[in-house]
């Protein structure tokens, strides 16, 4: 039991990792990127390609893939999202959904239906574990993922509160027009925010590939995980995302204990329960379910 809770908490780190890009982008640009999961899978495939063709370890491969993801994020904002956001709040949903379909099917066209994993390329790390007191065995990889998530979330928080660039991104997220008046280049801040978000997505994709398997159509599930963790974590701070991820993972663990097919059901149900409570305690409509309160951070 204790063992499962520990595993659940560690898995929550992965969910927080994939969720933080989604909620970061939402809080800055007010856009939910439906291609989020597909882009994570794209990153996993890129690392897989580097590893299987050129024998580059996935960790080294990140040096290539993460800058690439940043460029994709910048281009995404510059060529797609900025344009479609001008057409109202609904259009970006359709644009990013179209993008997700294109990415998924291009991956399928290129790599076929086989499920892949990065596990064979990271040596013993994929199965090594530490023994903790109380005869708990925790996977080294799971711990690494969790620590990465904590460092990333903390780093993002520091970046947003302590640096000029972070402050201009926060200003843009509050009100792009007013930010413009006081000399913040809103377009630039948004493009940078998108690039940062995609770096976190790339990292999440790497860990997705290392800890499990993926196939070209795995993006949709990852998107749902990210969304659920972000919503459960709610409008607190980036740390809320970590709590959201952990709650999601624990609910899935609990679901799997109740019924063999209950893993995913548990997560979805937990999401709906949190949503329900949130809706009926806030009383207000949910204008900013996902919004990170950047104010609190300052």
């Amino acid at each position: 039991m204790m063992n499962q809770i520990v595993q659940g908490v560690l898995l929550g780190g992965y969910y927080a990792l994939i969720a933080c890009g989604l909620s970061f982008m939402f809080s800055v640009m007010r856009i939910i990127n439906l291609a989020h999961g597909s882009l994570a899978v794209l990153s996993a495939f890129a690392l897989w390609l580097l590893a299987s063709r050129f024998h580059i370890s996935p960790f080294l491969g990140l040096l290539v893939v993460l800058p690439l993801m940043a460029a994709i994020g910048w281009a995404l904002q510059h060529f797609l999202l900025e344009r479609s956001a001008r057409g109202g709040a609904l259009l970006p949903i359709l644009t990013t959904f179209g993008l997700a379909i294109v990415i998924d099917n291009l991956l399928f066209e290129q790599f076929g239906a086989d499920t892949r994993s990065l596990a064979p390329f990271i040596g013993s790390l994929s199965y090594d574990s530490w023994e903790w007191p109380g005869s708990l065995y925790v996977g080294k990889l799971a711990v690494i993922i969790f620590i990465t998530a904590v460092v990333l979330l903390g780093g993002l928080q520091l970046f947003l509160t302590r640096t000029g660039l972070g402050r201009s991104i926060r200003a843009t997220s509050e009100d792009p027009d007013t930010a413009g008046i006081v000399g913040v280049d809103a377009r630039r801040s948004m493009a940078i925010a998108a690039a940062i978000a995609m770096v976190t997505v790339g990292l999440a994709g790497a860990f997705l590939g290392m800890r499990a398997t993926f196939d070209p159509y795995a993006g949709a599930t990852q998107l749902l995980f990210a969304f659920e963790a972000a919503v459960i974590g709610g409008a607190g701070s980036l740390w809320g995302t970590l709590i959201g991820g952990i709650v999601l993972a624990l609910a899935q663990t609990l679901g799997a204990r109740i019924h063999p097919q209950g893993f995913l059901i548990g997560g979805h149900v937990a999401f709906l329960i949190v949503l329900f409570i949130r809706l009926y305690t806030s009383g207000l409509g949910l204008r900013g379910l996902l919004r990170l309160s950047t104010r609190k951070a300052s």
Partner: protein, 353 residues
């Protein structure tokens, strides 16, 4: 400007002849099976189902401002309840429609909950509902998980009776659903719907019941898509949860509506027709066909967000199936096309008052 000389119209000569044209087309379609091969009848049935899907998604997104990427939940449930009812001994054809009514009823409590979400949150929230429903349906022993089952009781009818009955049921459902949507949009609810589409906050501020109106559209769309799912089951016979609860159905709906023209009644039908032709010609190319659909949806949302019909309508002042109001200036000021001022909330409200 002398407001007294403004003429408020509900249609144009073109839209009146289009009305007659629509009736003629429906009558022709009703007798068409006499002249069509079995394969062609099946394809036409698929077309009718696509028109239903497009019109229903358009009702929700184009008119209600609710973009959902989880509408496959109602498609799957339509098929699932039909299986369940037929298994309980109900006539398979009757169960198709009882099933859709149940889907409509199920969508009501869902709407209480989901309609409080906004934009992207609603979109993915519906996707979560679809994923969860898919998993729960898999738990049903009758369905046998992803293996699925079939609508066996339909086998008591011979193949040609079955084909023709489904064809006529699909045609009748499509006509009825389009008629319901049309009258809803043309009536006083329609004024509210268009006011919400144009600006939700402004509509609320002048007393439009935003949530109630949206709920109507949500339930109608769920019912319609439930009909479509049940009809699809009738043509395909087999029920595999994975195929019915696939997000691809929503992708098709989005493609049809975006290309045809979101928020226009005719656009959804045009989009379904185009989708049908594209599928007929390129459906065999497999994955490239899907890439093309996604890319087209992407391109239309960026470059031509009003879709084909919306763009044509704007440029030429076309109205075939007119649901709105036109304010025509007296002859001196009017240009030859009659300069349509597209359904303005103000016009709608003077009507409502």
């Amino acid at each position: 400007m002398n407001t007294a000389s403004l003429v408020i119209e509900r249609g144009t000569p073109a839209s009146r002849s289009a009305g007659i044209g629509v009736l003629t087309i429906i009558l022709l379609l009703a007798i068409a099976p006499q002249f069509l091969s079995a394969g062609a009848v099946d394809r036409m049935t698929a077309l009718f189902i696509y028109v239903i899907l497009a019109a229903m998604w358009n009702a929700l997104a184009g008119f209600g401002g609710l973009v959902s990427v989880g509408q496959q939940v109602f498609f799957g449930l339509g098929a699932y309840f039909a299986i369940r009812l037929a298994n309980a001994g109900l006539n398979p054809f009757v169960s198709l429609f009882v099933s859709a009514v149940i889907v409509g009823a199920v969508s009501w409590p869902i709407s209480l909950f989901m309609l409080r979400l906004r934009n992207g949150e609603f979109a993915i929230g519906m996707w979560v509902i679809a994923a969860l429903t898919h998993l729960l349906v898999n738990l049903d022993r009758l369905i046998q998980g992803e293996t699925g089952t079939s609508l066996i009781s339909l086998n008591v009818y011979d193949a040609s009776t079955r084909r023709l009955t489904i064809y006529w049921l699909a045609l009748a459902s499509m006509t009825a659903l389009l008629a319901i949507l049309f009258s809803l949009l043309r009536g006083s609810t329609g004024a509210a719907i268009r006011a919400i589409r144009d600006n939700e906050d402004a509509a609320a501020s002048v007393g439009v019941r935003v949530t109630g109106t949206k709920r109507q559209l949500f339930v109608l769309a769920a019912f319609g898509i439930g009909v479509a799912g049940a009809l699809w089951l009738a043509t395909a016979i087999t029920f595999q949860p994975k195929t019915y609860f696939n997000v691809q159905w929503t992708a098709y709906m989005i493609f049809m509506v975006l290309v045809g023209g979101i928020g226009t009644f005719e656009g959804a039908i045009l989009g379904a027709l185009l989708f049908f032709l594209i599928e007929t010609w390129f459906g065999g190319t497999g994955v490239w066909y899907l890439i093309g659909l996604g890319a087209a949806a992407l391109a239309f949302s960026l470059l031509l967000p009003r879709g084909l019909w919306g763009t044509l309508e704007e440029r030429f002042g076309w109205r075939l199936l007119s649901v709105g109001y036109r304010v025509r200036l007296p002859a001196s000021a009017a240009d030859p096309t009659g300069e349509a001022i597209s359904p303005a909330p103000t016009a709608a409200h003077s009507e409502k008052a």
